[in-house]
Symmetry: C2
Subunit: 596 residues, 2 copies
């Protein structure tokens, strides 16, 4: 569903009836986290696909602030859902395979008990009498619904934005209830900036003279101006500056013809006015206040240490996704969650999807290849049917080849060791280690496509830049840290070596030997920058290798930095053999095992 | 002046009387750009320091949206000014040296004609009858005031944010009126995101039921809620996310005790409520609408090409300053102005000050060492008294030494040539070229401290990263482009060489020769990464040099890329002589003159 502004899905949905919605009422008293009570709770929800007889394929989808139970169309004639690009037959959350449940949240205004519903005690809508609720209260209602549907363990809980807060709350409150958790574009608590926007939005609603202390339901006028202003502020925060420039830069003084009672001088103004005006037709001001306050009060902690303690009892697998241009829930907030999980050996993968779409990316088709692919691969591996990725994202040729250095590295690493592979690429070494039943295996790579491939192969991988260190990992967390053919491409050599030695009891470092006889000769005899068909195939001006050093240089470095060399293996990979005679001249690749 | 929240200056100023303000009234009719007319215009302004008898030391300071004429204290007993850190005796805009003029803008509410002043036609305040005005109208009034003060040519016009828009408008409308122009934290037009925030702010004011169609002056209530909400939105956009986290992250649930009628659940909420409540005591809602609309309508063009045409008649020297964390007027918008000027050979320096303070940086002391230092050095050189920098920021020792390569480069470059020096550092070569009266000399460097030093030395320098190309310069703009001892530290060699050859008719490239005999021997005989006391003094793991190549490699590169080598000079800098015999073995530094 696309409107005059080219938006899709959530932004412009109408308030049409939810013809496929189901409804269940749970008797109370329902005790709420902040002390209030509800006499009963009604939940409106929709389901898609079939529950298996083993009841093991249920995926709970949690919606964002302005979403509802209609996550996807049920058939071709149905109204569009807010996440049709992700949920449906053959889609990343494949309704041919999974039983998808999407309930409207507690406090919402699309059927589930909320401020606009009738308060059984007074016989009129709750209004501001609706008790203060938290994300935990919303999740408690979801849990009750899931139990009611006969499901003991969910395959996964998935949600973005406010829905992502719910995913985190599931982990905290029901650590055994799901096998997989997928928070997207979210945070362990809102940033002060995000809080600030919410505060202003609520002030606009609460000070609207038509708010009537929350009992505007029977009145001639509603706090439409305040709610529209709240929505306009929200819309600005959902878009990146870049996306806004693209959308409105060319015709900034050409407002669209819209029937909104707001300023229309500028193109972006007519857009905001339109969004605000549409929103008040389908959303309730009290719900807005209730839900945004629940978001703002959500706070699992401001440090990774606090979060690690929160998530300690949870053994689910995690896929955390952020979007590079999201400034409402910026990537560093997702990284904090990831750091907490990765640093305590929880199975987690993370990808910061490169996107120009801001927070809205998670509802838009623009980047769905990446984040949808991640979700698809993650669910397939939870499911035990890891057939998701070996077709489309097959590993490149180099990994199919027998690799002498991998053989030797595998011999160096004990079968039961825990291993971190830095610069893991598409996960070939990780997979070889996994096949050997290593205690724990995790990778780090800076390329999002490599990360998606790893996730599709059922591997845990963190999307990160090694030049920024390894803040996500604890001291001596791994038995072995591997840095394979990567040190020569790293800018801050000392930092990454320090970090490896902090995180690993032992470290395996491999690198091309710049003093290999063929390379020496190129410089000494021809006066040319060393280059070879083997380990240094690139020309001087375009090689990814920016550090040139020999086996002797690395040994001197270790001596200078008090690094202990436990083992050294030197190879001539062109000849396919180990080198024992004058390795600094005869080997083109070295494998070092080092420790502090 | 610091309040409970640790803010300074503008944010919390009171509406106290401006005891040092002067006032002048100009008879009309005063024709406005958008068609309106004012019968007369009164301007309130303050001055500091003494005008010289030559009337050549006047600096006009243009204030931001919520500022006024009181830019600084007049004496120790005076109220604080909004820019005391920049304007005053001994300060960057030194009132012992300059005659500083700061007028309240047309449309404002601190004495100059604006919506809250009495409309002589009706005998009551203008309110919404105040005509629509533009930045050009504000500047026309400033110009009239300056003329009235007997000043034909200003030494400089300085301003940030909305004040920066005025600086740009001075350049457009009065291209000969100032010798120097200093726009800070501003843009040739607002981003769509910045526009969007303004639209929402105006909607909040216009829809406040106490707005009374703008004639609230005699009423019991004013549109204080709408204006406070506008101010809250503004405040969020003035701070960086990082600054907000620092200010409110630790005690997010501990609101300060403030007498504001707004939500106080969160620390950041009490801050915003306080700022909003304080603001309505001193600012007028109609002025807010008038000024913010003037800002939003300001549009010198969306491309550097358009801006180049706008600034073509202006021959002033420019200092453009942005702040790295400013997301309301982000650095790329300043860069667009700089690109327009630099690409058309206008004398311009640019610095993107590294700051965590967001847009507010330009009012806060946090980064005033950097941006104040830039302003000080820039003004001193306009003034002809370029004594500003040779003390504190004296060039480092290396430049004091006789440098063989500089001597040879100066011989290669004709006396009248225009020259661009890439990676210019503190400007030693630029200064040598300037002393020779080269037609035009300009530098580029990535280090802000080096940029400040260059500005203090009266040199034009652009703060930019060479790895991002040279978008600010036109094809064949310079006779010579110099890249001295920098190519080996550049990641994208092909790109920067392509860019040099695009921008310069001829290019002078110097680089250390990696095949110098001492370096060859280190690798060939000792098997160690080449290092020398001369051109390659750093260890392999910490050298800034990431590209290793020889004279022969560079010659092959030129042949492969169809680059013509015009001249080659090879030096043994250790021996202090030119090398003619086997230079690829005997020279440690090469100078190439190349062209396409």
């Amino acid at each position: 569903m696309t409107d005059a502004f080219g938006d899709s899905s959530d932004a412009v949905r109408s308030a049409r009836p939810l013809v496929h919605a189901q409804r269940v009422t749970f008797d109370g008293p329902w005790e709420l986290e902040l002390g209030g009570t509800l006499d009963e709770v009604t939940v409106v929800y929709e389901t898609y696909g079939e529950l298996t007889t083993a009841r093991d394929n249920a995926v709970l989808v949690c919606h964002a602030l302005s979403g509802d139970s209609h996550v996807a169309r049920h058939d071709a004639d149905d109204d569009p859902g807010w996440w049709d690009i992700v949920v449906g037959p053959g889609k990343p959350i494949d309704t041919d395979r999974y039983f998808v449940i999407c309930p409207n949240v507690l406090g919402g205004c699309r059927g589930t008990t909320g401020p606009s519903e009738v308060n059984p005690r007074s016989g009129r809508p709750f209004g501001r009498d609706f008790p203060s609720i938290t994300i935990a209260d919303m999740v408690a209602v979801q849990r009750r619904l899931v139990t009611e549907l006969g499901i003991e363990t969910l395959l996964a809980v998935v949600g973005g934005s406010m829905g992502g807060l719910m995913v985190l709350e599931w982990a905290r409150r029901y650590p055994d209830a799901a096998r997989g958790l997928v928070p997207l574009g979210t945070a362990a608590r809102l940033s002060s900036q995000a809080l600030a926007f919410d505060v202003v939005a609520r002030n606009a609603i609460l000070h609207d003279p038509d708010f009537h202390a929350g009992q505007y339901y029977g009145q001639a006028s509603k706090p439409n101006t305040g709610l529209a202003i709240a929505r306009m502020i929200g819309h600005i925060t959902y878009l990146s500056r870049e996306a806004m420039a693209e959308k409105f830069g060319a015709d900034r003084l050409s407002p669209r013809e819209v029937s909104a009672e707001f300023e229309k001088t500028f193109s972006v103004g007519s857009y905001l006015g339109y969004q605000g005006t549409k929103f008040v037709e389908r959303f309730d001001a009290n719900s807005y206040i209730t839900l945004s306050m629940a978001m703002d009060l959500f706070d699992l902690g401001g440090s990774s240490w606090q979060l690690a303690s929160v998530f300690k009892p949870c053994d689910a697998r995690w896929l955390v996704v952020s979007f590079s241009s999201d400034w409402l829930f910026p990537p560093e907030q997702s990284r904090q969650i990831v750091d907490a999980l990765a640093g305590t050996n929880k199975p987690v993968s993370y990808c910061n999807v490169e996107s120009s779409c801001g927070h809205d990316a998670l509802l838009l088709p623009h980047d769905v290849d990446m984040y949808g692919g991640l979700i698809r691969g993650f669910l397939a591996n939870l499911d035990g049917l890891d057939d998701a990725d070996d077709g489309e994202h097959a590993p490149t040729g180099i990994f199919r080849k027998h690799r002498l250095d991998y053989d030797r590295m595998l011999e160096l690493i004990p079968l039961s060791a825990s291993v971190l592979d830095l610069g893991c690429g598409e996960g070939e070494l990780l997979r070889l280690l996994t096949d050997r039943d290593c205690a724990r295996v995790c990778g780090v790579d800076a390329d999002q496509h490599a990360v998606r491939t790893c996730v599709g192969r059922g591997l845990d991988v963190i999307h990160a830049d090694l030049n920024e260190g390894l803040p996500e990992f604890a001291d001596r967390q791994f038995d072995y840290v591997v840095l394979s053919r990567t040190l020569q491409a790293v800018r801050d050599v000392e930092r990454i070596v320090d970090e490896m030695l902090r995180v690993g009891r032992r470290c395996v470092v491999t690198f091309p030997n710049f003093a290999y006889h063929k390379l020496r000769r190129m410089l000494a005899e021809k006066g040319r920058a060393p280059q070879s068909t083997g380990q240094l195939p690139h020309a001087w001006y375009e090689t990814p290798n920016i550090r040139f050093f020999s086996i002797a240089d690395f040994e001197q470095f270790c001596a200078d930095k008090n690094i202990t060399v436990q083992r050294r293996i030197t190879l001539d990979t062109e000849a396919g053999r180990e080198v024992n005679d004058e390795p600094n001249r005869n080997a083109d690749l070295a494998i070092f095992v080092v420790s502090r």
